[in-house]
Symmetry: C2
Subunit: 363 residues, 2 copies
């Protein structure tokens, strides 16, 4: 089968497109009443992640509402540390927590490298189920946290304001942290390769906490391991005897200062948060990677006309399409659970409309 | 009287110094047992801020322990909104809160522009008391939050993870937000001018939340009002018939991407967090402003030898002293309350030692 809408993949590969494709980080999420209904049916967030049928259901919900150009696997960023034996749970009203954390050499020795097709089979089943249900309408994105971001959760035991535990670890025992990150890089690569084998047509690495690191430490403890993952990825898939490329996106929240180094990591596209001007980003790296981003998700709290104006600003900041450049519109971070769903319609519509008109005027 | 140690002021004014001066954001704080004793005596954090004798006592405490090159007024960033009538309070174990917040035109109309010498007289009294007690050992830094950062607290009613209220305000009612920011710019300028008149020898504007804004919005809603404050500052003081310059530092947490625009705002020095490489910052703006920063405060959790190595990295990243350039060593953010006090000794000592040796080798 051929994709009915391959605009997203074409943009990532810096091929010409008729308009700017758009999807939203966390597009299957709590701002949608139908998501909350399915989650209720599942009983808990983790049950929802671990049930391929329900994970498929919520993955497709935003596509039924909006003409989005990609679907993203519904899953959690912390499936890997859970499969490594740390015991992921969610306390009501709080973020993710682990029963066990990594504090020393012994904790590290107890971790095992999971077999994604065994230990994380529910994720691969979800990928296969979703691909079947999507019926090639749009491509499916698989994803993982970056080694550094996963290590943050594994050492901190949950979210953090100051990352004191992992940064103390970093400065006091860099040797141990490197061992942990090395194991995570292998595990993340296995995990993403298994997703690709199961049907993911693009993969995205979320380095949600790369931006909390000092310059120098970011390159050593985050980017080096993202690069190791990218090096080990099988970047193609077989589809009815045809070999198709599987583009890889790296998103480092707060990583704008390091965009040139991130762009040189071996990825096809760099995700940007809203602090980076897209035109500037494009001047720096736009002939080497595609760019993805970067509307402030809080701007979706404006009135529809105001949202449309902000979408045009983002598209205009990227500028006219040009050969060898590519832009995927997205938010600069996950959509807020408080967003009115009809505001997303205004956004998606304006991105498609205005980006088509930009292509007309630039010809 | 002449300052016994004017190294800090000289560095800010990009004049030659024998070594790199150093102080720490939040140097008078909870990591010091003597601070906690005084705070206990005061009964509460706000009492401590509002009592000039006790504020003076804690301001001087870190100078008794470490050979720091500057003192900073002990006060809170939220004295201004408190004086404007919002009712600042601190709930135990939580951050600052306001009894009243700004949600609409009526709330805005109720705000009054405080007279710093009346409504914030306790701050000016603290400045005078500290200057007397310092006896010109080192210069005293006065400070304020930036208009944008104050507005964040005034609209959110406290800290925030996503700044949803102020950003909704920004997109829905930019007209009202501009009026609030305009009033705050005048108020901050009055406040800092009164601190200078009372004896502050440097002023620093903390734009703690500038970095949460989208590119474009930062320039419009944060930097434009910081610039307005700087334009209105009286940048000199009279001291025994002599006119002395009063340098102004702007610190935007997460503002590295905008360093060139911040450097052009009219300030003498730009404070940087740890995500920005100092050498790169210097190449971009080092002949126009001094730079202040930027050790990750979490690195103070290393062993003393590790801390010394990280201090050398920061100094080396700035590079050799050169005419017309200036560097003030600091953390990239406030010191953590959990920091072992003797680790600060290692830091201050290494900054002084290594920066002297850099000057020897570069001659």
């Amino acid at each position: 089968m051929t994709l009915k809408n391959d605009t997203f993949l074409r943009a990532l590969l810096r091929q010409p497109t008729d308009y700017t494709p758009v999807w939203l980080m966390r597009q299957a999420g709590r701002y949608l009443p139908e998501y909350n209904a399915t989650r209720k049916k599942a009983g808990s967030f983790l049950n929802l992640c671990k049930n391929p049928e329900l994970a498929c259901e919520v993955t497709l919900q935003p596509l039924a509402r909006y003409p989005l150009d990609a679907a993203i696997l519904f899953s959690d960023i912390l499936t890997i540390p859970d499969a490594m034996g740390l015991g992921l749970y969610f306390a009501e009203g709080e973020g993710p927590k682990f029963e066990r954390t990594i504090q020393n050499e012994d904790d590290l020795a107890r971790l095992h490298r999971p077999d994604p097709n065994q230990d994380l089979r529910y994720v691969m089943d979800a990928v296969r189920t979703i691909r079947g249900a999507l019926a090639d309408r749009v491509p499916l994105i698989g994803f993982s946290g970056s080694p550094w971001t996963l290590a943050c959760y594994m050492v901190e035991g949950g979210g953090s304001d100051d990352f004191r535990k992992i940064k103390s670890f970093l400065i006091r025992r860099p040797d141990l942290l490197h061992r942990l990150l090395d194991l995570l890089a292998d595990t993340v690569a296995d995990y993403l390769n298994a997703q690709i084998e199961a049907g993911a047509q693009t993969v995205m690495i979320f380095d949600s906490w790369g931006g909390v690191l000092a310059d120098g430490a970011f390159q050593t403890f985050s980017l080096a391991y993202t690069r190791k993952v990218l090096d080990r990825l099988v970047r193609t898939r077989q589809d009815q005897g045809k070999t198709s490329p599987v583009p890889a996106i790296v998103f480092t929240k707060g990583g704008g200062l390091w965009i040139e180094e991130i762009a040189a990591s071996g990825c096809d596209a760099v995700g940007l948060d809203w602090t980076m001007n897209l035109g500037r980003a494009r001047r720096l790296v736009g002939d080497r990677v595609a760019l993805q981003g970067n509307l402030d998700p809080m701007f979706l709290f404006g009135e529809p006309d105001q949202i449309r104006a902000e979408c045009r600003k983002v598209l205009d900041s990227y500028g006219s399409p040009r050969e060898g450049h590519g832009h995927v519109f997205n938010l600069g971070h996950g959509i807020s659970q408080f967003t009115p769903p009809d505001h997303v319609s205004a956004m998606v519509d304006e991105v498609h409309r205005h980006s088509r008109s930009l292509r007309k005027t630039s010809v």
